[in-house]
Amino acid sequence: MNRLARSLSLALLLAGTATAQKVSLTYLHGFTGPDRPVMEALIKKFNDTHPNIEVRGQAQPWGTTWQQLPALVASGRAPDVVVINEDQITGFIARGALTPLTAPEMKTAGLDKNKFFGPLFKTADYKGQSYGVPISSVAYVMFYNKDLMRKVGLDPNKPPRTRAEFLRAAQLCTVDKSGKNATQAGFDPKNLDTWGVSLYNNWVGARAAYAAILQNGGAMTDRNQNAAFNSPQAVSAVQFLVDLVQKHGVARPNATEEAELAAFSQGKVCMFPSGQWYLDRFESQKMNFGVTFMPRVGGSVRDAAWGGSSHLTLPRQPASYSAAKRRAALEFMAWMAQPEQNLAWTATGSLPTQAAVAGNPRFETAAISGIFDRLNNVYATSGFPWVGQVMGPFDAAWEAAYLGKKPVAKALNDGVAEANKQIEQARKNFR
């Protein structure tokens, strides 16, 4: 009897501790497309290998999350882990919606920021503290047509890296209907058969200008987080791109993204800078193309390309929030960011977040690996809370300059003036 009671109470005790230890986490993310099953498989794998933690994933469109998160945080009902994208994250940090990941916490969880591509991890940093762990990344790259390059005497295995190489390639590739290229006398830019490079007016097109500005040592904002994309470095970098249309005639004026995409697919354009997300499309078309990092068109200060990313973050929780949940959430984040999981995630078309993954043999023959030598130079629009206020006017400035509606310096100055007026007002929200 006594023994029975003792073993019974022991069993109860064990059961009790087991349920007490089992931590349940809610995890909100915006991977609602073809990437959703990949994310759900990863969550399942985590749950299967971590008996003490149960993560319940919830997918909903990004925009809905941006609208709901403030209300969820304010009412103390925020999910335990939320994925936030690079253009939103600093805004949420500045408004106090997220909590910093302290150095001891990261150490305990086994998160080593040095293993990630530097600028990518820094995307979620603000005022010296880290707020997020990158798990997904896209970037601006340059696709190029190997057949066209070979045809005009360029080595398709050595895509241009510098401004001079790039301009030369673009000029050789721009051929008019009589067969003359842009470097030859009698070249007729009005009657072209193939173009050197694609530029166009929408926000994706504006990301080439963003890269050029960073490459020339410019920046989008200054130390006070005011818009500053009208620095002399920025003007000179953007001027080079506009000259490709207006002076050199190697890029089409008035182009749209769709038209350039079609032209590149049909072998009418040599170089097509755009998001790496078009990779699938060109691969399925069986094109003979290469992918390289955006050449240094803006200047020679550094390599740079625009990139977008998604970060695992911990929202602000009420004071009663359990420490066990936070520990479990950090464990989940660290696990999700590990090379093995990140490698699995690249099946969605995401770029590796860390060198250990980029070095995987799986990528050896993949076209995308053409940019892996410079993945450490991918920069997001982040670090200032008013990304919309800066990038909106910037995209408009690029459009005006590219379409020839305004001289480059005026377009950028107008954009900065507009952005700074908007920022002045937005600042009042953060007092």
Binding site: P70, V73, G91, R95, A255, A259, E399, Q422, Q425
Partner: protein, 313 residues
Amino acid sequence: MTTTQAPATHAPPGTRRRGSLEPYLYLLPHAALFFMFTVYPIGYGLYISLHRWDLLNNTQTFVGTEFFRNLFTSGTPQFEFFWRTLWNTTFFTLVSVPLLVAAALGLAALLHRPIFGRTFFRAVFFMPGILTVSVMGILWRWMFDNQIGLVNAARDLMTGAPPIAWLSTEGLAWVPIVVGTIWWTVGFNMTLYLAAMSNIPHSLYEAAALDGATGTQQFRFITWPMLTPITLFVVITTALASFQLFGQSLVITNGGPTRSTQSVIQYITEEGFTNSQISSAAAMGFVFGLMMLVLTAAQFRLMARDVQSAEEK
């Protein structure tokens, strides 16, 4: 006898039920929804527009009419873009409403007659309306693409003329938006006109024909006046819908080039959700909403007079 039997009927109607809850209970479901989804949001929107509102802030600072004043203070981005996009929207309305009404009336006049394949054509013109704005937008963006668009290709084929940069030329960028909108929505107005036309007594036309009225005269003196009430309805609803221009310009031109086709609703959305200036966007919403109210009231008064005089004839 009778007087003693029926005192209740002599009481004014409703007296017996004074204080009764019953009618209010019938009203309650609608009233509850009305308060929950109309009155309360309007009130809360007003509160938001008068504060520097951010759910994440512990204090929602009261700023009074600051965001309203921004709209009337030259030099602020809100002043510049609100009025510019309002003008864009007004321009769109001024161009598209007459076209939409005229095209709907014309199509209805054609398809009202017993022509061959009438049902088929009615369906053809009505069908685009069932598409979502994104499908319709992408379709017309492709049609008018500067380089690969069907319109430029047709021009090239027929006249050999160089392509027109529809999507990146200010002014011209309205063409795909207006044409697309007409294609998309004309069927609805057409259906309304068709219904109204079938309500006109046939005897009127017979009498007119006996008096020797031509087809044009019949339309001018019978059809058009008899359609005045439905025209009032069509003009007001079309104008209101046009002022709410959003999806078409968003998908076809994204408000470009250089904001020339950005609609006021698109700008309010940008201010609220891209710039995270919810209070400012709320203030704009109120000003714009008020304008729509005044406009509708004015239009109603103006055209109600026509309807009345048409009915008196």
